[in-house]
């Protein structure tokens, strides 16, 4: 029967129009959702995706479901892996023996360097960064593609994971946490188009920003300095901005055919089935604020202690009745308030600064007056405004 002769042609036209109208309405709804997601992301913290509650709920449901549904794929992959291992066993064994010989030499150098570094740190009284606690999680899903690169792992807020925590494998940095639910977390990979990571070139200390674009080799943008990069340079995290700790290995630089600097990621060298999430918020976490506030000043040397004792025993003109065991602050708001510098720990940073000033003055009583000791420049109405009288105006 020809179309035009069909008795149902009257039904077809309204349904087609209704489907068209439904498509337009659905498209408008989708555009609204997209716009609201962008707005929500702008309002939320810069480290999280839009609609974090919805995503966290979805992740907590999909993580166990994925574990079950992806199991057959996993088994097939493991089967192929076993076959591949069997086929490549001989050549891989040769490579590993060669690599082991190289690593043995590196290990010896590493021991010597570590020893030397520790001595330097002790000599310089360098404050090293404390070890960062980590939790290990298994990757449940791995999504790739040009528009998003993310992974779902089976550890979440219950294990202490927070949004912003960096994640790495034994090879290098993978990405950072952008969503957390109780038992699962979402990692945004370094290759995601929305990922931006501050890095530095290990050889030249030049800064750059690692920008993902959905491909397997993210770009290096905003490279500081000229000729600071060459093929094969090691790239590590710079720690700028406090997002990542400094010095985590990221990859090796290489120039593509268009002359754009890109990275061969270390984490891309093997299957990412397990990741370690560094429970690291930002650089302020490295500093123990309570300990910093409670730090006592170092004890005086015996000769300095004798000088302090002598100075304290001698009554000063400003306060002849000062107690013998205390040191008086010479100027400022704490004047006439006896403080036992050597014994009492300081209670706050402000107090520490004040007492450090007192301590400096006490321990070197015979030194020439420094800038700190000079009287503050007084306002002189004869001087031009905005230029204090610093003693050179009349010269």
């Amino acid at each position: 029967m020809a179309y035009r002769d069909s008795p149902f042609q009257e039904l077809k036209v309204p349904l087609t129009w209704a489907a068209g109208a439904a498509t337009i309405i659905a498209l408008a709804l989708a555009i609204f959702v997209f716009a609201s997601d962008r707005r929500d992301q702008a309002k939320a913290s810069a480290q999280a995706l839009g609609h974090p509650q919805v995503r966290a709920g979805f992740d907590s449901v999909i993580a166990p479901v994925s574990g079950v549904l992806a199991a057959p794929t996993r088994w097939i992959g493991d089967g192929f892996g076993s076959v591949g291992d069997y086929i490549n066993a001989v050549s891989e064994n040769k490579k590993l023996k060669k690599r082991m010989a190289e690593l043995q030499q590196l290990q010896n150098e590493n021991i010597a360097l570590r020893n030397l570094t520790r001595r330097y740190e002790d000599l310089l009284k360098l404050r090293t960064e404390p070890p960062i606690p980590m939790v290990t999680g298994r990757v449940v899903t791995d999504t790739r593609g040009p528009f998003s690169n993310a992974r779902l792992i089976d550890v979440g807020a219950a294990s202490g994971v927070k949004i912003g925590n960096p994640a790495m494998t034994d090879l290098g940095v993978v990405g950072r946490v952008v969503g957390v639910s109780s038992g699962a977390s979402r990692l945004l990979l370094l290759t995601d188009p929305e990922s931006r990571t501050p890095v530095l070139v290990d050889r030249t200390n030049a800064r750059a920003v690692l920008a993902g674009d959905g491909g397997s080799n993210p770009r290096l943008d905003y490279i500081r300095g000229k000729d600071t990069l060459k093929n094969g340079d090691l790239i590590v995290t710079s720690g700028d901005g406090g997002l990542f700790p400094r010095g985590l290995p990221v990859g090796v630089a290489a120039q593509d055919v268009r002359g754009i600097w890109r990275l061969h990621l270390f984490s891309d060298r093997g299957t990412i089935d397990f990741v370690r999430v560094l429970l690291y918020d930002d650089f302020s976490q490295v500093v123990n604020q309570a300990q910093l506030a409670a730090t006592a000043l170092p004890p005086l040397a015996p000769s300095e202690a004798a000088q302090v004792k002598a100075a304290a025993a001698k009554p000063t003109a400003a306060n002849p009745a000062a107690p013998t065991q205390a040191v008086k602050a010479p100027k400022g708001p704490t004047a006439n308030k006896p403080t036992d510098v050597a014994v009492k720990p300081v209670a706050s940073r402000a107090a520490a600064r004040t007492k450090a000033g007192e301590y400096r003055r006490v321990r070197t009583p015979n030194r020439p007056p420094s800038v700190d000791d000079r009287a503050l420049p007084q306002y002189d109405p004869n001087q031009p405004q905005g230029r204090p009288n610093d003693g050179r105006a009349g010269a």
Partner: protein, 171 residues
């Protein structure tokens, strides 16, 4: 001999079941494994449905189910919410417009239209990411995902053949 009455085409048969299969296939291919150093392909299974549903018959439910599938993809891939619904609806809308041109044509012509609809869908996603994220997605990665999605065309043909004659009004 009396003719057996034909079963009515119920939405769950041609909309629900394929949508569920697309979700399962997406999750299955989201497994984090590599075979001989190559990671698994990640096609957009719902793109097949966006094309096939439009040519099987016009439907009011179809576009809204595509929104659900698109939102699932957004959440599963950690993409901006709304990205894949728009992309799928662009493919669906273009296929719906071209539906009358495809009726009665050979499979090769249908493949051409499938390619055009898929390209339209991916292009819209590319433009949205470029506008919203101020960055251009990697073209090689884009072409690779498009290629594996285009390779799903036989499933679209199977779906069409399965349900084409289910409702005589839409022959």
């Amino acid at each position: 001999m009396s003719r057996t009455p034909s079963r009515p085409l119920e939405p769950w048969r041609w909309l629900g079941v394929p949508a569920l299969l697309a979700i399962v296939a997406t999750i299955a291919l989201g497994a984090p494994l590599r075979i001989f150093t190559l990671s698994l392909p990640e096609p957009i299974f719902p793109m097949v449905l966006a094309f096939a549903w439009a040519i099987i018959r016009p439907s009011v439910l179809g576009p809204f189910l595509l929104i659900v599938l698109g939102l699932f993809l957004d959440l599963f891939f950690a993409a901006p919410l709304g990205l894949w619904p728009i992309s799928l609806l662009v493919a669906y809308g273009s296929s719906l417009i071209a539906r009358t041109l495809m009726v009665g044509q050979e499979v090769e012509v249908m493949a051409l239209f499938y390619g055009l609809a898929t390209t339209g869908g991916f292009l819209s996603a590319y433009v949205l990411v470029a506008i919203a994220g101020h960055t251009q997605a990697n073209l090689i990665a884009l072409l690779w995902q498009m290629a594996v999605t285009l390779a799903l065309f036989p499933f679209a043909v199977m779906l069409r053949n399965r349900f084409r004659d289910a409702d005589i009004r839409f022959r």
